[in-house]
Every structure is written in structure tokens, then in C-alpha cells.
């Protein structure tokens, strides 16, 4: 039996190869990329929340909160995000954690929830600056020089300002609590000085009082009882200003009077 003879026609190898080459490329389903990014922890999603300075958008990935920013619309936020990180961000369907909601609404939060931040792409220095800013309690402020000294780079005051200006997660890392040594409120990446004042007011840090003291050349306030000197907002500005405090214009003046730096706000290196 010769089955071959009954075949209608023999296909050539060339025809087979040509047919194989013409196999159309399949389009990957649109769900593939987000699913992969989600699984490896690189997908970012965002919420829109109301804050004391208007609506803000908060993006996060599995690594942590990656961006906080004001924007006119979701579309604009998505563009800003892509421009900064070169990757996409999608609306989050799940509700934001209560910790973030409370923090954003009032900013003044007694519990100080531990939040994870996604600070990939920042330098070691920038990260150190932001982590230090995170230590400033609500209702208080610190000068740029304080951060520079605390992270062991006392000469890098200007760079501290630049790093804070690049803070990808303002509000949550409270760079608005860092002011000038002379008490002036200084700049703010998220809407300028006006918004910075609003935030400090909401937190009870009394920007007017800070400015007034600074304007009079007062840098520190001394506590007679313990013979320690502090930044004016240490422990909350109300208690300090209202009680009987001795004003100092410089660290030297305070030390000469026999005062030592407070261990809470660390206005100077202990010596």
C-alpha cells in the first residue's frame, strides 16, 4: 500500500517555512503588565484625599508610599507621576488605610502611625534628610541647620533645603516643619509659603509666634527649673511661650548663662 499516491498534493518544505514565518504575533492581554508589576511589587496605585490644603493624590506601591502631590485632576497627577518616575500609576480600588486618612485630614496625629515609604531612586543623603524630618513632632518646627547637624553633615544646610524640596511624599514626611533659623517660614514645594503656614497653623505650631520670636532675634528659650534651653516650639509652643522662659539669642549666650541643650529637641550638640 502506498498511501502517498492518494494525497491530493504534497506540501513543500518552503511553503511550510513561509507559512510559519507568517504566523501573526499575538497581542498580550492588557491585564498582563499590571499583573506582573503587582506580583513583583512594582505597581503603583493612588488615592485622592482631602487635606487642609485641598485635595491631594497619594500613590503607593508594595514598597510603600511613593508620591504625595497636589494636582488639578487625576489625569494631571498621573502625568506628574509618570514624569517623575517613568512608570505608570493607576487608581486604587481599595479604600486607603485609616492611618493615612486621619493623618491627611488633620495632620496633627497623636499616634504617629508608622508608614512605609517607597524612596527608591533617592540618594543616601536625601533619604537621611527625609528620615530626620520624620522625627519632628507635630506642633513643632526645626531649622534646616538642625537636620544638617543631626545627620552629621553640618555644612550641608543648602543641600538639606534642596533634598526637602524634592521630598516625594510631603505631608506624610513633614518637610513643612522645617523652617529657617531666623524664624522665617521659608519655602514649600507643595504650594509655597502660604500652604506651609496653613499646615503649621492646623498642627498648632503658631507660625506667627515663631516669626515674631525670630524677628526679635530669639533662637532659644531657657527653662529655669532644669537649666536647659530649647527650640521655641519644643513640647508645643503654647506651654513654652506662656510659661516663664528666658530668651537666648544664641547657643553661646545660653551656655554662658549656665544652660545646657535640651535632650528632647537637641538645639545644639551636647558638650
Amino acid at each position: 500500500m502506498k498511501p502517498q499516491s492518494t494525497y491530493p498534493r504534497r506540501v513543500s518544505s518552503l511553503a511550510v517555512l513561509q507559512a510559519l514565518r507568517r504566523f501573526p504575533e499575538e497581542k498580550a492581554p492588557a491585564t498582563l503588565l499590571p499583573a506582573v508589576l503587582q506580583r513583583v511589587g512594582l505597581a503603583d496605585t493612588y488615592w485622592r484625599l482631602e487635606s487642609p490644603i485641598g485635595p491631594v493624590y497619594i500613590a503607593h506601591s508594595r514598597a510603600g508610599i511613593s508620591m504625595v502631590s497636589r494636582a488639578k485632576s487625576s489625569a494631571q497627577f498621573e502625568r506628574n507621576f509618570a514624569k517623575r518616575y517613568g512608570r505608570a500609576v493607576h487608581p486604587e480600588t481599595a479604600a486607603p488605610p485609616a492611618a493615612i486618612r486621619t493623618l491627611i485630614r488633620r495632620l496633627r496625629s497623636g499616634e504617629r502611625p508608622k508608614l512605609q515609604f517607597d524612596l527608591r531612586g533617592l540618594s543616601e543623603f536625601e533619604r537621611a534628610v527625609l528620615m530626620k524630618a520624620l522625627e519632628i513632632p507635630d506642633g513643632e518646627v526645626r531649622p534646616y541647620t538642625w537636620i544638617a547637624r543631626e545627620i552629621g553633615r553640618p555644612e550641608a544646610v543648602r543641600a538639606v533645603g534642596t533634598a526637602l524640596g524634592k521630598n516625594p511624599v510631603p505631608l506624610l514626611i513633614p518637610c513643612h516643619r522645617v523652617v529657617r533659623s531666623d524664624g522665617r517660614i521659608g519655602q514649600y514645594s507643595m504650594g509655597g509659603t502660604r500652604n506651609k503656614r496653613t499646615l503649621l497653623t492646623v498642627e498648632g505650631a503658631h507660625p506667627e509666634t515663631i516669626e515674631r520670636l525670630g524677628g526679635r532675634g530669639i533662637r532659644f528659650l531657657g527653662n529655669e527649673k532644669g537649666h536647659s534651653f530649647c527650640y521655641p516650639t519644643c513640647g508645643g509652643i503654647e506651654t513654652l511661650v506662656q510659661s516663664n522662659k528666658i530668651a537666648f539669642r544664641s547657643e553661646r549666650e545660653a551656655r554662658r548663662a549656665g544652660y545646657h541643650p535640651c535632650q528632647q529637641c537637641r538645639p545644639a550638640m551636647a558638650s
Binding site: 511550510v16 510559519l20 506582573v36
Partner: protein
């Protein structure tokens, strides 16, 4: 420099920052490849997904010199192939041998099931033929199928195929040749079945 050439260096520098680009760039190719191997869209999507996740984990662990020297396309095909093989092994999915009775089924697939009155010269039939050719490819034994797809459908060089399959060049050459012969045979048989029916 094309994106494809630039990718290994940028991945070595900033994996998390550039990984999305890698996925966007290769997702159609890996999905197509997985689909040709499995002939099932759900399986293909899962395979492609797993392959990218594995690639990410591997890149995360590799020193940057190793990432920089990767032949990305061949490496990704290799991972996809391994993921597919593992799935097939686990699920006994569509691993069809030449002697399996499924062959008749595949040959029958040359007929359009919802179009019993065949219109031999229509464009429609051409499309079906191509789909059916893919079905026939899927019935080839795995060693022929992956060689044939990598070499002739994806258009990789014999050397690249040898590296992906971890086989000597000679084996790849002969498998590629035998795969074409086997496929011709399958086509002839399916036409034969067509004529008889």
C-alpha cells in the same frame, strides 16, 4: 542604540526603574511564544506572567555585570520555555505525542467545524488553514515543537536556539529539519483525511 540594546545596561543600573519597560517591550513576543507552545490563551497568559516574575527575581539576584552581558531576548525565551515545560509536566497538558490518537483530531481541525460546506478558495479558508497549521504544530512532540517555533516562527538563529534549549548545534539542526518533515507529513495526512471524508 535601540531600546533592546540599551535595556540590559539600564536594568543593571536600575532594575526597579526599568523593569516595566522590559515587560512592555517583550510582552507580545513572550505571550505569542507561550500561546504557540500551549495553544491556550489562559495558559499562555499565566506562563508569560510567571516568566516575567521569574525574570525579575533572577535579575534581582544577578550581579550587574551578568545582567549587562545578558542576551535578553534569548534569555526570556528560555525562561518562558522552562515555565511552559514545568506546567506541562505538572498538568499533563496537551503534551501530545506523534502516535497519540489526538492526531486525527488535529487533522480534523483542518475542516472548519461550523462550516461543513467548505468553500475551498475563500479567504476564510486561508485563515482557517493558518489556524489549523498552528494546531498541527501543537501536536508535534515537544522537542520538535520548541525547536520549530524558536527557529522558524520567532526567527532566532540556530546558535540562539541551541543556547536556549541547551543542546548541541547539531541536535538543533537535525531537530529543526525533522520538525519540518514531521509537519509536512501531518499536513499531508490532514489533507488526506479531508479528501477521504
Amino acid at each position: 542604540m535601540t531600546l533592546e540594546q540599551a535595556l540590559p545596561a539600564s536594568l543593571a543600573l536600575d532594575l526597579d526603574g526599568c523593569f516595566e519597560q522590559l515587560v512592555s517591550h517583550y510582552q507580545d513576543r513572550l505571550y505569542s511564544f507561550a500561546y504557540r507552545l500551549t495553544r491556550n490563551r489562559e495558559d499562555a497568559e499565566e506562563v508569560a506572567q510567571d516568566a516575567f516574575v521569574r525574570a525579575y527575581r533572577a535579575l534581582k539576584a544577578y550581579p550587574s555585570e551578568r545582567i549587562r552581558s545578558l542576551s535578553m531576548r534569548a534569555w526570556l525565551y528560555q525562561i518562558t520555555l522552562n515555565v511552559t515545560r514545568n506546567r506541562l509536566r505538572g498538568k499533563k497538558l496537551r503534551l501530545v505525542s506523534m502516535s497519540a490518537p489526538n492526531r486525527n483530531e488535529a487533522a480534523a481541525a483542518f475542516d472548519a467545524p461550523d462550516n461543513p460546506e467548505r468553500q475551498p478558495d475563500s479567504v476564510l479558508e486561508k485563515k482557517e488553514r493558518r489556524a489549523n497549521l498552528a494546531e498541527l504544530v501543537a501536536t508535534l512532540p515537544e522537542r520538535y515543537r520548541s525547536t520549530l517555533i524558536l527557529r522558524y516562527v520567532e526567527g532566532l538563529s540556530l546558535e540562539e536556539v541551541a543556547a536556549i534549549l541547551k543542546q548541541p548545534l547539531g541536535t538543533v539542526k537535525s531537530n529543526a529539519h525533522r520538525a519540518v518533515v514531521a509537519l509536512r507529513e501531518l499536513i499531508s495526512q490532514s489533507r488526506h483525511a479531508e479528501v477521504k471524508s
